[in-house]
């Protein structure tokens, strides 16, 4: 029955003309039949027809009623309402402009944040049947891990991938991709194109066929490239790279590009929406994994490492489920298979080692969204921002609802005339609601445009020179649906109250002309309830803004423990540019000497894990003559550093001495520990002179402690103190210089003025190295690491201010309206001798009472929200009294400001004029 009804309504909509004609024909038939019957008594045909028409009554009305029954009228009425609403808006352009602008900002902000959330957290990879994809590695991680990590693996090695690919029973195909390569910019050389860095990703031959991505130009490579190493210098390039570097020319196929010392033939171009398996990484060039040695010269990431505890884990693996295989089945199958693979490597291990080694698993998780480190870094801040912009929109809605309420009071006459003419309550309701939804729809359309611009700004905000965040935030179907839904909801939210108010219009009061001049006795006006809600939400936003801004200040002013303004850092990687591992110590020494010789340079040193980079090494240590600490407690982080590391970086030496030139070479190994390590491992004795064994994957070696230094925050402002051990770079355990090193230069005066001198010093010492691209102070690096925190602080601050402005407008509007309705009363008071100050207070008191009520509701909201955001705060609690008290104080100031003008106006009321108005 329901369905039939809809189908008839649909038919009515589609074949409206025909149905109208049929209805006319039907009614005409009736009248003709009646006329026919009448003619039996009446000889006059004309008279008979006239009688028939009279008997029938109004044909127009019957037609209307039939249409109403058919459901067509609903749409017709909606169309009529819409036209009327447009006319009403055109009649008050000022109001329309303010409302549309407010809504556009509110909806635009929501759309902007949503499109980023959609692209980071919700959208599927633009590949064939993404829901069949499964990760066998950790999609939230990016990097390369050397050594052994127990528990769930982040990545797998190349030999492991090959075994998985051969033995798997549950996937129709498996692909592997290096996901850290995209961070390494590579110089390209092509006679036609200028040289610039590009992002290269190494992938297995199965990559494109497993994802189901077909090149729009040329072809993709297949499994044949996996057979032979170094034998397939071919490349597939991204659409964007093709457009930007080859101008989109179709002759790109067959052209060569040069990466380091090898030329690659371009064989294909991927479709525009495809950006690889990692969201936000955006590789430009894909080359076969078997070309690893050409992309990272001097490294071997492909061969089986003989020591199973020292593997290079660097590949992200994705499988496509065979039809009918569930995720759980795949998980079970991979668990068994991987366990067998690990078991095969345990021969000759002690029972304890074996147990430790076999605690390795592959996490098997759904892969439709692709990999991304953005989710972990950016997910929660985005959700918080989404809530913040949602609240802003609510506050904006409240303002518009209040303006509409005031207007509906002014429109009461118009509406009562319509009611008197026969409009039903529901008709008036629908009409007023249509106006609101029209406003919201226009606001939404403008907001959609604003959102595009806001998204570009947002991505610029979180991008740094070294890490560009590229996301596809174009308005797609999901974003459009979101904006449409939000606009509709917005229109209903702010339009409902005014519409109800209009539908319940009091005919007698309005036509008598008394409505609107005296305050209605009893009952709290809706406008005031709305303002109280607004105040409480604004208070919440203000406190959040205060917390995030203060937290960011704490972060950016935190003591790192080393010089942040005069310490420059840059990375050199000789192995990738043709130098042999044995040449590296001499090369590094020569670079350091030449930089040291630059006038104004206070010192130069180096470290294997760059400061503020996130790259770290960790190993267990034991102290000679003592029992090892159990489990992870024995772990320390360790860095290999050059001579004079502590005096150069400015990390204070508390006891003993710095690493010195003489510590290099093959003599007795020395080491320096930090305070935390001293406290943890030597609680009751002097560490200086003690022997420490570091158990690395390359072996174990004793170090004599020669110094204790202050704790420093090596990688981020949020870092907690951790035991740290510094050993000489040029006297390592094993020849571990293969991953390059960061050179640190301390300058006297402005560090930026040294960059060209340093560049030429590096060029002289190591002519084969490319020109140093980025040279940053610790302060710059730190601020790059705080982009997300800065984004939340800046955006929440901006939205906090916006909330204050909105609530100020809202409060002013309500107070002005309330005061104008009390004109008579105030007039009487003045006539009876009330003091001006008393009148002023009368109005201010009312406003402050609203703020007080809003604050009373807002404070518990703040505490509830505090729990949720506490993990993002640094150096302060969510219940930070300063943020709370200053926000409340600000709200009261706003309460006074917003009501001062209406209050002043009230004191100037002329009692005679006021009373005559009645």
């Amino acid at each position: 029955m329901q369905w039939k009804d809809y189908s008839l309504r649909l038919r009515a909509l589609l074949f409206r003309r025909r149905m109208d004609e049929e209805l006319q024909e039907e009614l005409q038939f009736h009248i003709d039949m009646q006329a026919n019957k009448n003619q039996r008594n009446e000889s006059d045909t004309v008279e008979a027809t006239r009688q028939a028409r009279l008997q029938f009554g109004s044909v127009v009305r019957a037609t209307e009623e039939c249409r109403e029954e058919r459901g067509i009228s609903f749409l017709e009425i909606a169309g009529r309402d819409l036209r009327f609403a447009l006319r009403m808006l055109r009649k008050s352009p000022g109001f329309a402009a303010v409302a549309i602008l407010t809504l556009a900002l509110g909806i635009g902000a929501n759309t902007a944040i949503f499109s980023v959330i959609h692209s980071v957290l919700l959208s599927n990879l633009p590949v064939t049947d993404p829901q069949q994809l499964v990760f066998l590695t950790n999609p939230d991680e990016q990097g390369l891990e050397i050594g052994f990590g127990d528990g769930d693996r982040d990545f797998v090695t190349y030999p492991e991938f090959q075994q998985l690919e051969q033995n798997n029973q549950v996937f129709s195909g498996l692909l592997a991709a290096s996901n850290f390569t995209s961070r390494i910019p590579v110089e390209l050389a092509d006679p036609a194109a200028s040289s610039a860095p590009a992002h290269v990703s190494l992938i297995s031959g199965s990559y494109f066929s497993v994802l189901g991505v077909t090149p729009i130009l040329g072809r993709a490579f297949g499994p044949e490239v996996d057979k032979l190493r170094d034998a397939n210098p071919i490349a597939v390039i991204s659409y964007a790279f093709w457009q930007n570097r080859f101008g989109g020319g179709r002759d790109v196929i067959g052209r060569t590009i040069r990466i380091l010392n090898t030329s690659y033939e371009v064989i294909g171009v991927t479709p525009p929406p495809f950006h690889g398996e990692t969201v936000g990484a955006n590789p430009d060039i894909w080359v076969p994994l078997t070309m690893q040695n050409e992309i990272f010269p001097g490294q071997d990431y492909l061969s089986q490492e003989p020591n199973p505890f020292r593997k290079t884990e660097w590949l992200q693996v994705i499988g496509r489920l065979k039809p009918g295989v569930t995720l759980a089945q795949a998980k079970a199958s991979i668990e068994v298979e991987f366990h067998q693979m690990m078991e095969a490597q345990t021969s000759g291990m002690s029972a304890e080692k074996k147990k430790q080694f076999l605690n390795q698993h592959l996490p098997v998780t759904p892969g439709s969204h692709g990999a991304s480190t953005l989710r972990a870094d950016f997910g929660k801040p985005l959700l918080i921002l989404m809530v913040i912009v949602g609240l802003i929109l609510l506050i904006a809605c409240a303002n518009i609802a209040n303006i509409l309420l005031a207007r509906s009071a002014a429109r009461q006459k118009e509406i009562s005339i319509r009611v008197a003419l026969g409009a039903s309550g529901s008709r008036v309701f629908r009409q007023v609601l249509t106006e609101s939804i029209l406003l919201a729809a226009i606001g939404g359309a403008v907001g959609l445009l604003l959102a595009q611009w806001a998204d570009a700004a947002l991505l610029r905000m979180v991008s740094t020179t070294s890490n560009q965040v590229c996301l596809d935030v174009h308005a797609n179907a999901a974003v459009l649906a979101f904006t449409f839904g939000v606009s509709l909801l917005t229109g209903i939210v702010f339009g409902l109250t005014p519409a109800f108010r209009a539908a319940r219009v009091d005919l007698k009061a309005t036509t008598r002309g008394t409505a609107g001049t005296t305050a209605r006795p009893g009952g709290v006006p809706t406008g005031k309830i709305i303002v109280v809600a607004q105040v409480s939400l604004s208070l919440l936003l203000l406190v959040l803004a205060g917390l995030f801004v203060r937290s960011f200040r704490n972060l950016s002013q935190t003591q790192l423990g080393y010089d942040r303004d005069h310490l420059l850092e840059f990375f050199v990687d000789p192995l990738s540019y043709g130098y042999r591992a044995t040449e590296i110590p001499a090369l590094d020494q020569s670079i350091l000497l030449r930089i040291d010789a630059i006038p104004g340079v206070a010192g130069a040193t180096l470290i294997d894990n760059p400061l503020v980079s996130g790259r770290d090494s960790s190993s267990p240590v034991t102290i000679e003559g003592r029992k090892p600490l159990p489990g992870d407690n024995a772990d320390v982080r360790w860095d290999m550093v050059g001579a004079n590391f502590f005096s150069t970086t400015g990390i204070p030496i508390l006891q003993g001495r710095d690493i010195a030139e003489g510590d290099s070479g093959n003599g007795q190994r020395v080491g320096v520990i930090n305070e935390t390590m001293a406290r943890k491992f030597f609680p009751h004795s002097n560490p200086i002179g003690q022997r420490v064994f570091v158990h690395t994957t390359a072996g174990q070696a004793p170090f004599i402690i020669v110094g204790i230094v202050h704790d420093s925050k090596q990688h981020s402002a949020k870092e907690m103190p951790f035991p740290r051990f510094y050993v000489p770079y040029f006297n390592p355990i094993g020849n571990d210089w293969t991953l390059g090193a960061a050179i640190l230069v301390r300058t006297v005066g402005d560090p930026s003025s040294f960059s060209s001198a340093i560049r030429s010093a590096v060029k002289q010492a190591a002519p084969n190295l490319p020109t140093v691209a980025t040279m940053e102070t610790m302060d710059q690096r730190l601020s790059d690491s705080l982009v997300t925190d800065r984004m939340i602080a800046e955006l929440s601050g901006a939205f906090g201010i916006l909330a204050v402005v909105l609530v100020c407008i809202g409060l002013y509007g309500v107070m002005a309206y309330a005061t104008s309705r009390r004109t008579n009363e105030i007039g009487v008071r003045i006539a009876l001798g009330a003091q001006r100050s008393g009148i002023l207070w009368l109005v201010l008191r009312e406003s402050l009472l609203l703020v007080l009520m809003g604050a009373a509701i807002g404070v518990p909201l703040v505490f509830a929200a505090g729990k949720w955001i506490s993990s993002l705060l640094f150096g302060l609690q969510p219940a930070d009294p300063l943020a709370l008290v200053s926000a409340i104080a600000l709200m009261f100031v706003i309460g006074v400001l917003a009501s001062y003008i209406p209050a002043r106006r009230a004191t100037r009321i002329n009692p005679t004029v006021a009373l005559r108005q009645e």
Binding site: M1, K4, D5, L8, E22, L23, E25, E26, L27, F29, H30, D32, M33, Q34, N36, K37, Q55, F56, G57, S58, V59, R61, A62, E65, C66, E68, E69, R70, G71
Partner: protein, 112 residues
């Protein structure tokens, strides 16, 4: 609004019942329905012709009757209505309800 005293105003909802009852004997067009109701009620009930058609369309929407174009007795195209299966059921229900109601009212009137 003026009211004709000679005509018995139909109670709300009774027109639907009358239409359903009239159509029980077979398909007929709108005019025939109105004629039949008047005829059977011996002209006591006069269907307001203007409100007959909205009622027919309403019943069609509810799925109780269906409409088809056919040729009338005078050879003209006309819209013929007939009862559907659910319409028949509805007629029974409404007829029972109606007699309950009238019985009850009659009893009340007798008591008074």
């Amino acid at each position: 609004m003026a009211q004709e005293s000679s005509r018995l105003d139909l109670l709300q909802g009774t027109l639907d019942l009358l239409i359903l009852r009239a159509l029980r004997s077979g398909a007929m067009h709108g005019w025939a329905v109105s004629e039949r109701i008047q005829q059977i009620s011996q002209d006591v009930l006069r269907v307001n012709q203007g409100s007959l058609y909205p009622a027919l369309h309403r019943l069609e929407h509810r799925g109780w009757i269906k409409a088809e174009w056919g040729i009338s007795e005078l050879g003209r195209r006309a819209r013929f209505y007939s009862l559907t299966a659910s319409g028949r059921k509805q007629l029974e229900i409404e007829a029972v309800n109606w007699s309950k109601l009238t019985d009850a009212i009659a009893r009340v009137l007798r008591m008074a």
